[in-house]
């Protein structure tokens, strides 16, 4: 069966500008072909996933204010069903990485990413999150979040306007539409990976789970609980 064009209801396909990456991927998918049952199921799953992306409230600096604007009356990303911002990383689907990430924050962001449940996506908002931005010359800035975690969509701007953020969200929705749940092995790497090799990444995750979260230092739980 022919793989369909990626179509999302929220925005016309021709309104998207940079499409080479997704087009090429679509070609690749078509060359392989898919089973009709599987593809129908995949369509259903992707429909659900791309229409219900719950962001984690994560904002370090300026772009966070534009993110707030996005949730408020004028831009209202509730229209697309994205407004269920979860504060717990376990329940969120996407990290809106709004703002500069510095050395001290880097491990925290990485841990947040590790704490999230699959499928999880990352969007880098603003020049700082993309590549250091105006703070390129600083001694304490991480030059882009993709040095720490893989990024799906980059939205440039300093800070990006809420409209640009919505555009980025739509791109992410399209990207999710191309995912395959049932034919995982064939799936190419959708997101750019950071420097760590898979083995060490796995080890990292174990470590994170062993070293209990800052918020649940178990020693104190026991003490606090018995009081």
């Amino acid at each position: 069966m022919e793989v369909k064009d990626i179509f999302i209801r929220n925005m016309k396909t021709e309104d998207f500008n940079e499409n080479e990456y997704l087009d090429e991927y679509l070609k690749e998918l078509r060359a392989n072909g898919v089973n009709i049952v599987i593809s129908k199921l995949d369509d259903l799953i992707n429909w659900g996933r791309s229409n219900s992306v719950w962001p984690l409230t994560f904002a370090t600096s300026c772009c966070g204010i534009e993110f707030m604007c996005l949730g408020a009356a004028r831009y209202d990303f509730a229209r697309f069903g994205w407004e269920v911002t979860r504060n717990s990383p376990r329940q969120a689907d996407v990290v809106f990485c709004c703002g500069t990430i510095v050395h001290k924050m880097a491990p925290v962001l990485k841990r947040l990413y590790d704490q999230m449940a699959e499928p999880k996506y990352v969007m880098a908002f603003g020049s700082c999150a993309i590549g250091g931005g105006p703070f390129k010359k600083s001694y304490h800035t991480v030059m882009g979040v993709d040095q720490i975690i893989p990024v799906d969509v980059y939205v440039p701007g300093c800070p990006p306007r809420p409209d640009a953020m919505i555009y980025g969200m739509m791109q992410l929705a399209r990207k999710i539409k191309l995912q395959e749940f049932f034919s995982l092995p064939k799936q190419p790497e959708l997101s750019r990976h950071c420097g760590t090799d898979p083995q060490s990444a796995e080890k990292e995750i174990n470590n994170v789970q062993e070293v209990a979260d800052q918020a649940h230092n178990d020693k104190n739980i026991e003490k606090g609980g018995s009081e």
Partner: protein, 354 residues
């Protein structure tokens, strides 16, 4: 007036004509379970959608409008997503209790949901102690919340669970007292009879002032029992990230999420049944033609109309008020609602005696 028991009896007779006693019962149980579960899920999704739309309305926004016509499939998409979301196995949690907790919460609300009279005869079980059963089962949910908070091994969830425990146990009293005043008025605990007795006039009018006071107390206390703002301390977003369910992901979190909305529905439905006549149409003694016209509207619509009216009240309060602090929350219950509730019972007793 159309009674739903006609349909159920017909199904029963139809099954009995083909199957033996035991098999009939089995088939009926399975049918009922399927129906209740489906209704539960559909209602929860509908409520989530309604809440998001109403909330957007209060906040000068549009709300979900892209997925399906008017965004009506938004919560279906959410459900598809959440069903396929990874369930994280966390080290250092009590995994048995951790898994059990979310089931406890949803079972408690399901059991309550089953006992609601949606229509004459559309009633899973009609106990003679129906009110007592509702109160008993709906308060089981707090065990699930406490377990969730405790077993997660996280300080936020712990604080959230403790808050929830204090809150639910306190407000259970006011809930019970206000329902008790209606039990005094009607003289029965059987839900079907309570509804039948309101065929001439709803209890909120029949019971004069005490019934109205009981209704208001029940709405406040019931709202507090659903853990929703301004009483959402157990999951106070700005304080405790996500409260007692911080560590849950995937469908386990989905259970808490569904149960929260369904509890809101249940509280509203009980309020509608006990005070606003349940599925009974609006009748005024003496106005025969008016009563006749009212009877043309099916009872199911009356039931859901009244319930969604109460749900709307809850949403209105939810999105207009800031959150209470824990000491204010307890003071409201123990210093204001409980004394008023007790005096109200005396008033109601006097009303019934005189």
């Amino acid at each position: 007036m159309f009674q739903f028991s006609v349909v159920t009896q017909w199904i029963d007779e139809f099954l009995r004509s083909y199957l033996s006693e035991g098999w009939t019962l089995l088939v009926e149980f399975v049918l009922i379970a399927l129906l209740v579960l489906t209704a539960y899920a559909v209602l929860a999704l509908l409520l989530i959608y309604i809440e998001r739309k109403v909330c957007a309305f209060f906040q000068c926004r549009i709300g979900p409008n892209r997925v399906g016509p008017f965004g009506i499939l938004q919560s279906v998409a959410d459900m598809v997503k959440i069903l396929l979301k990874e369930i994280i196995r966390i080290n250092k949690v009590d995994s048995f209790l951790f898994t059990l907790a979310c089931f406890l919460v949803i079972i408690a609300s399901l059991c309550t949901f089953g006992a609601l009279p949606f229509d004459g005869g559309l009633h899973v079980i009609d106990f003679n102690i129906g009110v007592f059963y509702l109160l008993a089962v709906s308060s089981l949910g707090v065990v699930g919340i406490l377990l969730a908070g405790w077993s997660s091994n996280n300080k936020y969830t712990m604080i959230g669970a403790m808050r929830s425990g204090a809150q639910l146990i306190s407000y259970e009293l006011s809930c019970g007292l206000s329902l008790l005043s209606i039990v005094i008025l009607s003289g029965t605990m059987q839900l079907s009879q309570i509804v039948e007795q309101q065929s001439d006039l709803w209890f909120i009018f029949k019971g004069h002032v005490p019934a109205f006071i009981a209704f208001v107390i029940y709405l406040i206390a019931g709202h507090a029992e659903t853990n929703r703002g301004p009483f959402d301390l157990p999951e106070a977003e700005s304080e405790l990230t996500a409260g007692y369910h911080t560590e849950y992901s995937g469908i386990q979190f989905g259970f808490f999420y569904l149960a929260e909305y369904l509890n809101m529905f249940i509280i509203a439905a009980i309020a509608a049944t006990m005070f606003l006549g349940g599925w009974m149409p609006f009748h005024v003694p003496g106005w025969e033609s008016f009563n006749g016209i009212m009877d043309y509207i099916p009872p199911v619509i009356w039931f859901f109309g009244k319930t969604f009216f109460c749900v709307f009240l809850a949403l209105w309060v939810r999105w207009a008020f800031p959150r209470l602090r824990i000491d204010q929350l307890l003071a409201l219950e123990w210093k204001i609602l409980l004394p008023i509730g007790l005096i109200n019972i005396i008033l109601m007793t006097l009303l019934v005696i005189l």
